[in-house]
């Protein structure tokens, strides 16, 4: 069965909805402090990357976008739009790996791990070192050096989160699925 990059079936919608709820929960409650203020390692990005790899770029992008906007709104009353958009973009790009993955058929070998992590690192660099700081400057007129420092820190911590947690979850998930063609017909 071929997988289309931008399909939007019922399962994608439900995955988006529940994934975003999970993302919001993780974003608000489950974070690992790094010691630098305003920057914790967000486990939510591991979840975002995991869902993006399983359900594609649209689900991934929307999960991170809705999840980030919602948790910001609940905690601060208003979302920090430049970072919300960057979140969406990072998981959207990670989702591009989706047509090449066969995790639901129980296949997630070394090659897939490397591929997933390359996508994930590229996505985080684009989103946090380019998109987020530029939007910060355009929308909020934040000082240039501050936003780039924040962007680099965010890129590293989110790449660590997506790489470690995302990879672990994908490996675990692939083990729960039965391999394609693992049953043979007895004649």
């Amino acid at each position: 069965m071929g997988k289309k990059m931008f399909e939007f079936k019922t399962k994608t919608i439900v995955a988006t909805g529940l994934g975003a709820a999970l993302f919001t929960l993780m974003f608000m409650y489950v974070k690992v402090p790094t010691g630098i203020p305003e920057t914790d390692i967000q486990t939510a990005y591991g979840i975002g990357a995991f869902f993006a790899a399983l359900f594609g770029p649209i689900a991934g992008g929307l999960i991170a976008f809705i999840g980030h906007a919602l948790s910001d709104s609940i905690q601060y009353g208003s979302a920090w739009w430049s970072w919300v958009i960057a979140s969406g973009i990072s998981c959207f790009i990670i989702g591009m790996v989706y047509p090449k993955m066969r995790v639901e058929d129980g296949e997630f070998g070394m090659k897939d791990i490397v591929r997933f992590n390359i996508y994930q690192i590229v996505a985080n660099v684009i989103a946090w070192v380019i998109v987020a700081p530029v939007l910060d400057i355009v929308i909020y007129a934040e000082p240039v050096n501050l936003v780039f420092v924040q962007g680099v820190v965010a890129a590293v911590s989110n790449a660590v989160s997506a790489g470690v947690i995302g990879t672990i979850l994908l490996v675990l998930y692939s083990k729960t699925r039965s391999k394609k063609g693992s049953l043979s017909k007895e004649l």
Binding site: F8, A15, G17, L18, T24, P37, Y76, G77, S78
Partner: protein, 276 residues
């Protein structure tokens, strides 16, 4: 874990009776008008308006206490960080230099820098009451309906309404799993080393994530069986009709936005307002 999402209590007043669509449009208009302008006079005007609306909506302070504390901490952090990283940014923006006093050669205190940072704080703070009004006075199921009506694809709107529907369930599941694991001897408190604590948190998250994946399967099958997504349009049970008051409110929101653009382009000629 006590924070409740959309602590929605139905009340009967002007703000509550507006449709979700109206509130969304007004929220977007006012947010953008503040986001775009860097003129402190206009921002203060919008801020005063949003405080008036906040009073009109009769939201209790108790509902927003935690939020207010978070916002205050965030604004304070941003204020300090901005000054540490670029103490001269105000001069760069406004093009003039009025020095008050000097801490070192790099860290001088200028009127421009103060104006820039105070403007920035009011900019963020003025949107917060609007966001709170929107979050606390909109019925979550109606919200999806209003998104659909402003032109968002109904499948996307439905995904959001699923998020709002399942978020409280997920918090409950998370607590249940956490308590179950703790009763089996998993230590989540500060007594444990950081590395072990991270591992323990993973032990709670993994069952949560996998049960979510099962739920996705279940719900999407149920929706498919009921023919979800067969047609181009759908109707919403929770949608409210748009009344006269809604049109008036939306027109007012648009006026605020237009005012912001007018001040930017015709009065100041740029996004920044320099009184010096």
């Amino acid at each position: 874990m006590k924070a409740k999402l959309f602590d929605y209590i139905d009340r009967d007043n002007f703000i509550y009776n507006l449709s979700g669509l109206t509130k969304l449009v007004c929220f977007i208009c006012m947010t953008f008008s503040v986001m775009f302008s860097y003129d402190i006079r206009y921002i203060l005007f919008v801020m005063a308006l949003s405080v008036v609306f906040f009073r009109m909506s009769e939201i209790k302070f108790k509902q927003i206490k935690l939020m207010t504390i978070y916002v205050a901490i965030f604004l304070l952090m941003n204020f300090i960080l901005t000054y540490i990283f670029s103490p001269q940014y105000g001069i760069e923006i406004y093009g003039t230099n009025h020095e008050l006093f000097r801490i070192s050669t790099r860290y001088t205190v200028t009127l421009e820098q103060l104006l820039y940072q105070v403007t920035k704080i009011t900019k963020y703070a003025s949107v917060v009451p609007m966001g709170m009004i929107f979050l606390l006075t909109t019925n979550p199921s109606e919200f999806a309906a209003s998104l659909n009506r402003v032109g968002c694809n109904y499948k996307g709107a439905y995904a959001l309404s699923l998020t709002l529907r399942y978020f409280p369930d997920m918090i409950r599941d998370y607590q249940d799993i956490a308590l179950a694991q703790q009763s089996r001897g998993l230590d989540m408190s500060r007594k444990e080393k950081l590395g072990t604590r991270v591992k323990n948190v993973m032990n709670i998250c993994v069952p949560l994530i996998f049960s979510t994946l099962d739920k996705i399967e279940l719900i999407s099958n149920a929706m498919d069986l009921r023919g979800f997504g067969k047609h181009k349009k759908r109707t919403w049970y929770a949608a409210k009709p748009v009344r006269k008051g809604d049109w008036a409110a939306m027109a007012f929101g648009a006026l605020i936005l237009a005012g912001s653009l007018f001040v930017t382009f015709f009065v100041n000629g740029s996004r920044f307002y320099n009184p010096f």
